[in-house]
Amino acid sequence: MKVGIVRFPGSNCDEDAYHAIVDHVGAQAVFCWHKDHDLQGADLVILPGGFSYGDYLRPGAIARFSPIMQEVVAHAKRGAPVLAICNGFQIACEAGLLPGALLRNIRLQFICEQTHLRVETIGTRFTSRYHIDQVIRIPIAHGDGRYTADPDTLARLEGEGHVVFRYVDSSGHVTEAANPNGSLRNIAGISNGAGNVLGMMPHPERAVDDQLGSSDGLPLLQSLADAMLGGVAA
């Protein structure tokens, strides 16, 4: 598996993603500069976290017009996988790769903490190494993570099984107290209709080593590597 990690001005989780892919998954990774039109033959594209373009106007609003995003959209349209983390999720929504939007956290604070997520589906190429309803610990670090979509979109996401992760308490229950940012229906991560684009506010690339607090993000990256090797289409 070759992973292309896009670097925008203001990306700051690009190195974390590289470390996770190269040192923990054992796959190849390259950085793709946002001004280029070259994904360098990447099988998987990661849109990493950070503050692209300083979050000017709205997070992701300007980054989505970077030249490389044309290639990322084409890559996604071909059915190839895109993992959009944090600011990457915001960019993916702005680019129309995923439905909805990410608004200011409900209490207007930047939050950096461990969260518990429940794995809502394992029928994706991102989650095959988890088990259904598994509770995992993955950190968040964002000021604009409140997932919002219109009622029809929410119903479609739920009905078609595209809600991938939800914020829960440590027992796996969806509660208001477990919802760090006010996301509708405690949504932490969603996939697109075709299932090849995953957007999530929590950082799986920062949870790949027990010494750093959790290794619960590693199976997500390993699931992707499995899918590449096995040619899984889901």
């Binding site: 106007l57 709205r58 609003a61 300007i62 017009f65 929504c93 702005e94 439905p99 909805g100 939007a101 608004l103 200011r104 409900i106 209490r107 207007l108 409140r146 919002t148 979509a149 219109d150 006010g182």
Partner: protein, 85 residues
């Protein structure tokens, strides 16, 4: 071509929770402005743009709002003034 100065207001759409607006509304209530209802906090942009007419300038800025300046999922925009710059 004439240079026009266009003002546009972008606000969170009604029905979408605006915690900043709610905090402002609560603060106004605590100051005694009991008449205040919903408050929306948004952005005000002023753009200079060249166009053949005021109407052209306005339609051009409307397209800018649709493509970049406002998020069609969560925000509404109002072009409030088009004057010669």
């Amino acid at each position: 071509m004439t240079r026009f100065r266009v003002a546009v207001q972008i606000v969170p759409r009604r029905g979408i929770l605006d915690p900043q607006g709610k905090a402002v509304s609560d603060a106004l209530h605590s100051l005694g402005f009991a008449s205040v209802g919903d408050v929306r906090v948004g952005r005000h942009l002023v753009l200079d743009t060249d166009a053949e007419s005021a109407a052209d300038a306005e339609s051009s800025v409307a397209r800018m709002c649709e493509q970049l300046l406002a998020n069609p999922v969560t925000e509404d925009f109002v072009i409030s003034a088009v004057v010669p710059a």
